[in-house]
Amino acid sequence: MPITYTSGEQVEVYRFSLPVTVGVPLLALFLQAFLPRRFPGFAVYLDLPLLVTIYFAMARRNPISGLFTGAVIGLLQDMLGHNPIGIYGIAKTMVGYLASSLGVKLDVENAGARFLLTLGFYFIHSAVWFTVARGMVSLTQNWSWSRGLLAGLANAFLGVILYFFLDKFKQRA
């Protein structure tokens, strides 16, 4: 099983340069807004800002940094739509916090662990998003298990590839 429990001393903490910290989330948001123009199904199944949130949170292994990363990326994503600002913000804040908290306890360096964690965080993100959207904003949303599972797997698969590339930018703290 790829997920292994490690002690706090064994866990590596990483940091990123300012251009990467700012540029990568912005690039993810840009692609998320731009690619559906060519590939209409992109926005239905893939959530690049979520993948970037998970990656930064797990690599930094700092819950406060993780939740703020998630909040900022989520709020920016909200601003690009027309729904009230905060739905993605709340969902990604939760994911950022949980991913970084889990990153402290688990070895999240290998592909298998990353795949499973991204799949899990996708469902957590969807659950929080749907709860807030239905409960607070009264958006009519229908959850489809088949579509959700497909989207989760697609995100997890893309996440593993994306994290591999993003690993090139991380520096030991």
Binding site: L26, L29, F30, Q32, A33, F34, P36, R37, P40, A43, V44, P63, I64, L67, F68, A71, L75, L76, Q77, M79, L80, G81, H82, N83, P84, I85, G86, I87, Y88, G89, I90, T93, M94, Y97, S101, V132, A133, M136, V137, S138, L139, T140, Q141, N142
Partner: protein, 409 residues
């Protein structure tokens, strides 16, 4: 107390951040769904993201134009021949439609009908989306600087797209008709039943408000009714794909939009509309036989004084649009040239290019009275999302009011 806060510091901060966001969300929900009060914050995000989108679209279009206009010309000859044949067929059809149009105008004038004209449109290019399937909207590259305002109708040659939701200096948000917060007043073409069009959570489009004891046929066309005060009457909306029993004595009618909302590249924003009394045009009749005769080499030339030659565009009518393909985007086409939409309302500012520019040269050497003094429309300036050839009835062209201008992109 201090030690408890220190121990659960991360959790306390998480709860604080979540609480603040929920508070902000609650305030926005309380103030209704109007997005005006979050405009400033949204402008920041739009200003950060859209410049990259513009650059990428510009580069993409440049490369595409170079390839398709100069390098990849395979099959162009065959296509040209095919288009010429198509023009011939369309001209015959035009004659038939002209007769109907003239008759309809006469009746409208008798009944003192007011015709609705789209007198000015702005062509815009789609540069991005919201990136979320819960918010079905687009970003276009025109904004306040080009005269766009909230609630203006956004259309293409095929039909309606949506309405302008938010306007920023050089960018605007367009709410698509398949978003669940959108609503369009519609009418069924044959049965004349009225209803309103709504989007669903899954991105489908449904027609609501039609009673279950009414008969609605699959395949029937849906047009705008003009009742929403946003879309002019008579624009194509889509076709009925499925009719089922809904709730509360209403039918559940599913609609396939006339426009492929997932693949939009250029759109037209209706910035100005006019109403005017229907007038009977003094139209000379053109017979289909005349057109056929014109094509025969054995037919002798007609005298120059004959104004009803096949190439003559009857007063008040125009040929169909010239090019089925949109012109390169980015240019702003503003045309005060009304084009009749299928149901009788009139769409202008579109691809109804000048007769001289669109009509093929006749095979005979006869001088063409229209070509001698054509309305001045520069085809290069005609907007990209034009009214396509097979989509609208013959356009009305009033050379005196035809105007086309380019604005800086």
């Amino acid at each position: 107390m201090e030690s408890v806060l220190g121990r659960y510091r991360n959790l306390v901060i998480l709860v604080g951040v979540l609480f603040l966001q929920m508070l902000g969300l609650a305030v926005q929900v309380k103030r209704s769904n109007d997005t005006e009060h979050t405009r400033l914050i949204r402008v920041w995000a739009v200003d950060v993201i859209t410049p990259f989108e513009r650059v990428l679209i510009w580069a993409q279009n440049g490369t595409g134009n170079l390839w398709h206009s100069y390098l990849y010309l395979r099959g162009v000859r065959a296509e040209n021949r095919q288009l010429k044949d198509q023009i011939e067929q369309l001209r015959l059809e035009q004659v038939r439609l002209n007769e109907d149009a003239v008759q309809a105008h006469r009746l409208q004038a008798l009944l003192a009908f007011k015709e609705q004209y789209i007198s000015r449109t702005v062509a815009a290019q789609v540069i991005g989306s919201s990136g979320s399937d819960s918010s079905r909207m687009l970003y276009i590259d025109k904004g306040e600087d080009q005269g766009l305002k909230r609630d203006m109708a956004v259309i293409t040659a095929d039909g309606i797209v949506g309405k302008v939701l938010q306007v920023f200096p050089s960018v605007s948000q367009v709410l698509l008709i398949n978003d669940q917060s959108s609503g369009v007043g519609t009418i069924l073409e044959k049965s004349r039943l009225q209803g309103f069009l709504k989007g669903t959570a899954t991105g489908e489009v449904v027609l609501e408000g039609v009673m279950s004891d009414e008969q609605v046929a699959t395949g029937e066309r849906v047009l705008t009714s003009g009742g929403d005060q946003i879309f002019p009457k008579g624009l194509p909306v889509g076709t009925v794909t499925n009719v089922g029993t809904g709730k509360d004595l209403f039918l559940n009618i599913q609609i396939k939009p006339a426009v492929n909302l997932g693949k939009l590249e250029e759109v037209l924003v209706v910035v100005e509309r006019q109403e005017r009394q229907a007038q009977t045009a003094d139209v000379g009749r053109v017979r289909a036989a005349d057109i056929l005769a014109q094509r025969l080499p054995s037919v002798p030339d007609k005298p120059a004084s004959v104004t009803n030659s096949p190439t003559t565009v009857p007063a008040g009518t125009a040929p169909k649009a010239a090019s089925p393909k949109p012109a390169p985007a980015g240019g702003e086409a503003v045309a005060k040239q009304p084009v009749k939409s299928p149901s009788g309302s009139v769409v202008a500012g579109s691809k109804a290019a000048s007769p001289a520019a669109t009509q093929p040269k006749p095979s005979t050497a006869e001088p063409d009275p229209v070509k001698a003094d054509p309305p001045k429309v520069d085809p290069a300036n005609v907007g990209p999302a034009n009214v396509g050839p097979a989509k609208v009835n013959p356009a009305k062209v009033d050379p005196a009011t035809t105007e086309s201008q380019d604005s800086p992109h």
